[in-house]
């Protein structure tokens, strides 16, 4: 599969009065053409910082001591601000989290949607407005023709997020970065937005990086999943592998804390994430991990291969590590997954795993 974006050994620090916060610690991942990669993790795990570095929109107090972000044979970390402006909103664009605050309250929405066209394509104003209208229709703003002169406050939250999406896709970007696009919306609107994004992905053939802390959303949209913790990716694989055969205790904890129809009490991972001013030298999750071994406090685990597409950074996968029993919920998932794989191997109709 063709890699459209390749992030290698990325490190990002933020300078603060207390010292340098090591927000991103040696992160590598790639995005295949046409796929949706979900990056999941709790607040502060570095998801947003990672994608902002791809957009070149990091805060002023950040610095990138190491790493590469390869897109079309160029390193986005090395190109000039002018070159980055040409890529932003054209080849790579972004959908933001809060639709209530991400639109300019003093500009009609048609103009806001048309803006990327005017900057990048040197389109005439009339033609750009026509395109804006089409795209607004495409994202599901009813009666778009009569509403392009309306202002953001005249739309509901869900409609505003559709407008934000329209702005992001108006130039048919090759990569669409969605930074928790459903977090600020209520549940019914959430699923509508997810459906819309899937539809659009087919129509405009874009690749998506989808950031979220909501695993339920991931299951609905992602092809592959990367799990982040304390500025590092700790496990990645196909969506089935992560959901039904997870290997890192943190991923177990995340899945375990998702409510299911059977769950009587909601599980919570004990403790809090480490302070990244002084990151631990071993596995950052060790203090919260009931399966932690002595080595977890001493050395950072490398990635161990589970399958060709599935890797996890935990010492539990080391050949010398003792076998441990994952939580019951994870075992249940294993079982479902193996049943599903067996049925697929028999050539039967691939039953939906859940």
């Amino acid at each position: 599969m063709e890699k459209i974006l390749d992030v290698k050994d990325l490190e990002i620090n933020f300078h603060t009065f207390a010292g340098d916060v090591k927000a991103i610690r040696d992160v590598s991942f790639h995005l295949n053409k046409g796929e949706t990669l979900a990056i999941v993790g709790e607040s502060g795990s570095g998801k947003s910082v990672t994608v902002r570095s791809i957009m070149g929109l990091l805060a002023n107090n950040s610095n990138v001591p190491n790493g590469q972000i390869m897109f079309k044979d160029q390193d986005l970390l090395k190109i000039s601000a002018r070159q980055m402006e040409k890529i932003r909103g054209n080849d790579i664009s972004m959908i933001f989290q809060d639709p209530m605050t991400s639109l300019d309250p003093t500009m009609p929405i048609g103009k806001q949607v048309a803006e990327p066209l005017l900057i990048h394509n040197h389109m005439s104003r009339a033609k750009a407005m026509e395109r804006a209208e089409e795209v607004l229709e495409l994202v599901g703003i009813p009666n778009a023709k009569n509403r392009i002169k309306d202002y953001p406050h005249q739309f509901s939250g869900g409609q505003r997020q559709r407008i934000v999406i329209a702005i992001a896709i108006v130039n048919y970007p090759e990569i669409l970065i969605a930074d928790e696009p459903t977090t600020a919306l209520d549940v019914t609107i959430q699923s509508q937005i997810i459906e819309l994004m899937k539809e659009l992905q087919d129509k405009i053939e874009t690749s998506i990086i989808f950031i979220t802390h909501d695993l339920g959303v991931v299951a609905g949209i992602a092809d592959r999943v990367a799990v982040m913790y304390a500025g590092k990716i700790i496990e990645y694989g196909s969506v089935d592998e992560i959901f039904y055969d997870p290997r890192h205790p943190y991923t177990w904890g995340l899945l375990n804390s998702m409510p299911t129809l059977e769950s009587k009490k909601l599980y919570a991972i004990p403790g809090t994430p480490p302070n990244l001013l002084n990151p631990p030298k071993g596995d950052a999750f060790a203090p919260r991990n009931e399966y932690a071994m002595a080595i977890d406090y001493e050395a950072m685990p490398p990635f161990f291969k589970v399958t060709d597409t599935h890797y996890a950074a935990t010492w539990l996968l080391h050949p010398d590590a003792p076998k441990v029993q994952p939580p019951a919920e994870i075992l249940r998932r294993h079982e479902l997954y193996h049943k599903y794989l067996a049925e697929q191997a028999k050539g039967g109709v691939p039953a939906d795993a859940e």
Partner: protein, 311 residues
């Protein structure tokens, strides 16, 4: 919109009537009489003069006479200034005051907005420090000190402008600049704060993500949004300019109206006090109306939708 403006104009007249009424009765409570040399006047002379000016009539009759005159555009005759009609007195003197007031307002707000915006965009750099320094200096040094400094350097030393004279546009520049310092400093400080806030907002990040350069982002998105609260201070600033202009008019010997106002109060020149109070109130009310209309133009959220913006 037209309906709203007409309604507001009707309210302006009602407010003016209330102002006229309150001022009329308060003014009568001022100690003293309109006669500066009362001791030398005989009782008869005072009686004759009171009769002539209608001051012997009951208070409510006087009030009634004044209001009727006001409705006819007659503000009475000044006691002090050579028996001139107050309307004549005002119309002769209002021009220069209005001119330097308006010029100061334009210089102050435009430069203030520019200075504040630059400081915000370049925040925490030397540019920001210089702009902040200017704002503090502009705010803390009284305008008459500025006036004298300007006179000394630009008029006395360099002879670019006249020192103190009222003759054409060139003579209005120095007083306008002196008067503009405080509003300039205020606008700049306010603008900087707002702009810093706006620049860290989500829609600015989205604008950047579209591929706009940082200056395009400022021009197209940040400026207008930062202006909304700045418009708020324009009203009070206009008041400051109107009342503050008296000293400046004196320093530059401008035949303005500020001096008359102070003199009329000191000498119980009732018709002149009334006339100028009503004039200042009217000017203020009109400025507030303009500010409110400006609001609607800048911020669509408070645009007055008589036609119904929503479906």
């Amino acid at each position: 919109m037209t309906k709203y403006i007409l309604k507001r104009i009707a309210w302006i007249f009602i407010t003016l009537w209330i102002v006229a009424t309150i001022t009329f009765f308060l003014m009568k409570l001022l100690p003293g009489t309109p006669y500066t040399n009362q001791a030398k006047l005989s009782a008869d002379q005072i009686r004759i003069m009171n009769e002539q000016y209608g001051l012997n009539k009951p208070l409510f009759t006087q009030y009634w006479v004044y209001i009727v005159g006001l409705l006819h555009g007659d503000l009475g005759t000044s006691f002090q200034f050579n028996n001139q009609p107050v309307t004549y007195l005002i119309s002769n003197r209002i021009g220069p005051s209005m001119q330097i007031g308006a010029q100061a307002m334009i210089i102050g707000t435009l430069l203030g907005i520019l200075l504040g915006a630059i400081a915000a965009v370049k925040q925490r750099t030397w540019v920001d420090s210089v702009a902040t320094f200017f704002a503090i200096v502009g705010r803390s040094i009284p305008n008459f000190v500025f006036a004298v400094i300007l006179q000394f350097f630009l008029a006395f030393k360099l002879k670019i402008f006249p020192i103190a004279l009222w003759d054409g546009f060139s003579s209005s520049i120095l007083p306008s600049i002196a008067l503009a310092m405080a509003p300039l400093a205020d606008t700049a400080r306010f603008m900087r704060t707002e702009m810093v806030d706006v620049l860290s907002s989500d829609y600015i990040e989205l604008a950047r993500s579209k591929g706009l350069s940082s200056w395009q982002t400022v021009a197209k998105h940040a400026l207008r949004n930062s202006l909304i609260p700045v418009v708020t201070i324009i009203g009070p600033m206009a008041v400051a300019l109107m009342t503050g202009s008296m000293v400046i008019e004196n320093i530059f010997s401008i035949p303005g109206i500020g001096e008359q106002f102070v003199k009329s109060i000191l000498t119980n020149d009732y018709p002149t006090i009334m006339g100028l109070t009503i004039l200042y109130s009217a000017a203020l009310l009109v400025i507030y109306l303009v500010v409110d209309i400006l609001y609607g133009i800048i911020d669509p959220r408070i645009r007055l939708s008589t036609t119904g913006g929503k479906e």
